[in-house]
Subunit: 340 residues, 4 copies
């Protein structure tokens, strides 16, 4: 259930609703939308009814929502959430660009990439230290050393950093080096990991699993939210398809579908979806036109030597061109690039 208070409600009206819920064995989660308070009720089968709540002073209405996710529900924050990564707001009106190499390979490679994407217009640096590779014999990332290089790149460029975390025991180390924790598509339903990042104070970028429904994705987000971390950003990155011309099948309709269901910001990764750098700009433009709040794009100073996913990486020059295009599309729809 979600309890929406009247705008005229007083602080003690809100407090009364919260205490009524908690006395009954439920958990109340308070948010504010514009000038009105909204209270989400957690807890299965608690001894509290909509009728009891709606009769309390200051309550405007009580809405039943799908029981499988609640805090992620659009109703809980109808105007949409803005989640800051470092000082960059994701969500809201401006568009945000995250870019960088698939994997951190060396200090020189990372700095060249960081410099390149910043000049091209990126707000946030991405780069993998821990890499979830299909084969155990592929490059698995530099691990902790990669984290150190990311922290150094952040210091050198001033850009906030997003990087993947793959197991609960590494959350703390990753959170130290990075401004945002990425949970990869392969781990979308790794519930111990979701709980662990839910207990972190870093925002979380949650990629959609490659055969996950939008509802399953929102329930995965709910695992994080239910731990108290309200800062979740969703990322669509392509589904398993059957046509070999692309690596995955980008589901752009997930953007307006998820927008309708949840208040969380939604970005798109055109690089993994395409698996082919020639196709990345078209998918990037489509994502922004469909209403995404931003992009995460793979850029490598020398894609042909990349240790991971080179074929889908853009050069910094190609990235700068992509930024021009998505900037034009965003501007045409009233959504300019975020200005630092």
């Amino acid at each position: 259930m979600v309890v929406t208070m009247r705008r005229s409600a007083q602080a003690d009206d809100v407090a009364r609703v919260v205490s009524t819920i908690e006395v009954s064995g439920g958990t109340a989660r308070l948010s504010r939308t514009g000038s009105a308070a909204v209270i989400g009720v957690l807890g299965e089968g608690v001894g509290i009814t909509p009728e009891a709540l709606v009769s309390l002073p200051g309550v405007e209405r009580v809405t039943a929502v799908d029981k499988s996710y609640r805090l992620a529900h659009r109703l809980f924050r109808p105007e949409g959430s803005v989640v800051a990564i470092g000082d960059v707001p994701v969500g809201g009106n401006g568009l945000v660009l995250m870019a960088g190499p698939c994997a951190v390979e060396s200090e020189a490679q990372l700095l060249a990439a960081a410099q390149g994407v910043r000049e091209g217009g990126a707000h946030i640096l991405r780069g993998g230290a821990f890499k979830p590779r299909t084969s155990p014999y592929s490059f698995q990332g530099l691990g902790r050393e990669g984290l150190r290089l990311l922290a150094a790149a952040r210091a050198a460029t001033g850009m906030p950093v997003v990087t993947e975390v793959m197991e609960p025991s590494e959350v703390e180390a990753v959170a130290e080096a990075a401004d945002c924790l990425q949970v990869g598509a392969r781990n979308m339903q790794n519930t111990p990991l979701l709980r662990a990042v839910g207990q972190s104070d870093r925002p979380v970028l949650l990629k959609r699993g490659l055969a996950a429904t939008v509802d399953e994705w929102l329930q995965a987000a709910e695992y994080i939210l239910a731990q108290g971390n309200e800062r979740v950003i969703l990322c669509e990155r392509g589904l398993r398809g059957f046509d070999g011309h692309t690596r995955f099948l980008l589901d752009v309709s997930a953007v307006p579908v998820a927008r309708r269901l949840t208040h969380l910001p939604i970005i798109v990764d055109p690089s993994h979806a395409a698996g082919d750098r020639e196709l990345v700009p078209a998918l990037a433009r489509a994502a922004i036109a469909a209403g995404a709040d931003g992009l995460i794009v793979e850029v490598h100073p020398t894609p042909d030597t990349a240790l991971s996913d080179g074929p889908q990486a853009l050069t910094p020059t190609a990235f700068a061109h992509l930024v021009e295009e998505v900037s034009a599309v965003g501007a045409a729809l009233g959504r300019p690039l975020h200005q630092a």
Copy 2:
């Protein structure tokens, strides 16, 4: 094989290549790209080799292409084809909008729809007289009477008309009433129908099957082209997916993928993909941003009373708003709406 002539080649150089191919038992198909002639060679295992052709005067190069489609291959017309429906060019720089009701229901409904979409900015009227319905107990369209109403709407509004044809024996009747023959997704591999429309002098709108690869789609186009009808327009309309929030899964990546492989124009149907009118504008914008040459959109004067697919039909007002948005996106990318 595709033979590309030098720009300096003379008419008799071209004629010599054509006759060399035909003497060997093959079929030569001539096209022009800019100032250079291109000759496609049809016929399996004919007694002619690339070496023999490349040594002829005026030949610049001979390129082997995927044997399963040739006339559809981008190499055959590298600058891209423009296919006119009535006097509206599809392909090229301008964007084209086709719109109208899913099914023709009555004269009043069709005229209201036609008027509405024309005012909203559509160039071409769509409407189904023969409807391929999943259940035999659903409304199957008005048939020949529907064709008559479409011809009347064309006369009344001056808009060219596109409508579906479902069997070879109806091609002639449909071609009389309509300016463009649509082959639906369910019939993408109905080869007798493909051959029949290939023998018509009307352009053909070929929808992609709901689980067809891009290569299968181009091979279906090749059936039409191989009959001598060069005027094929491709239409992506969504794949079978697993998420119930949309009716089909729009594959926007098919636009740049097909663009790279073929010279044929490519449009997108966001309405059948979405199955939900709230989602149609986002998909329409994404399609244009991905590089589509136009859209085909379902619009009904009173969607709630529609006999077919009402939930995905836009009102004329909503359509006009969609046109504003896609026009802005197109303009931002240097592709304005076609101006009559």
Copy 3:
């Protein structure tokens, strides 16, 4: 609606129900299950209610069924249908094997294949005269000449013949040469073709489309049944999948799922699903174990020279081995091979 009569109902009770339905503008379709009559009611929104029918003498119950298919509904013939191809019953307790080459190539090839599969244990000969090929440049079958060869093979071996028909105008010619008309997966929703075979007096083998739901498949069958042809056999042949090790993804669960929903017999084509002869026996055994009423298997006297789908064709020797295995599985489950 389906009206089930009491076993004690008299002929004039049944006649009264039928006339009541027809007077109200509906169509009554009578079948018998064991000793009780069952009457299906067709016609949307006719002026007749379940209440009116259930009050008539001799009526045991009136059941509302999914409106999109009715005659195909299990309720309409709870004990299951048996459809004879020539003198071979499909459905019922015995298992039926159809086998032969993908395409009819020559008299010698067809006779060798027919001889081979008959010796191996097949009951029915399959072979394509009209071939729906993905590329227009692939072998398209011998057409009418292929039909002539099939009729000759039938005469020579005494085996009934099943072959594909691809357009309404060929139904008559195919029905003359063959004992059963096959509608291919690519034509599952080619409604003019479904109607045309529905007006034939030949049984119809209806393959499931490669991305069709079971409900869509049953609605396609309903198109045929609604024309008055009650002799439809369903055939599962694999869905579009994403794993390149097989050509399609065999959905064995379709067998028990369809069994529950419909009274029509269900067979399986393991050859097109596998696309690889090494995998065919395992899929054939699985299909029978899942409850299929039979198989349709591609067998070629010399698979390596086949003009179509050679990689999935078995030799006659391999087919005989497959028959031994499926015979053992069938016997273990109380379903022996049909004995002529």
Copy 4:
């Protein structure tokens, strides 16, 4: 590379090959197939060539294999692996049945289930203590208390136990309570977990991800094998499909496909695939007929009160009936149930 030694090779021939590999910087992994030794070579780009190895005494041949998995490759153990869970061999000729409740709910429930499945013919008890649920508000399992109950059920019934482990930090605790560690479909590419179970001395049941290719599944197995744990059992459990009549789409062809590629035993979970207890027996029979080495089946003493996945759980009586059927199918194909 895989080095196959001659049968006549001596121990010091084998030792020489191993040391040659290791001196060059590679890792040698020795196995025996019948009377011949087989040596797998790990290590990318090591300074050793097939030519150098094939010239060593006692070497019969050196085979290049797909670089993404090697230890899992069929060539490495051509006769197939047998992996014991407790004293029950999985793989080899006999069929093995694992059964029990989806989730451990209480001592009484677990003991009733264990008793029931043992009487029905199961060899191994399954039951979840840690449950990966889609929604955070669904029952998540009893955790450590569930492990305690499983250990007690093992002691009471003598049946070996298989249960899921969801994070590296729980591997040790689960390995104490259970005879086999299950890695669930959602965690198939959770590489830290794969590495952790690879360092355990317990066999591992590795479920296929719901959109994983067979190659990706084998590469996931390779993560475990590469850590030194050779005891991996593969489990197919259904793919994401589009037809709502089943929960997932069972890919029976994965059984013969994987059999050809790998020596690891393969079992099937018909319960999660079906999601509907009426369909479970047909899928179970199909799996055995396709060549699976066994089944893992959900059985609950009172399915209607189950806290998780009740609709797909069989009663003990229905399970006993399923065992009779699969036993008959197995026997018909020369694969009897394992006899303790």
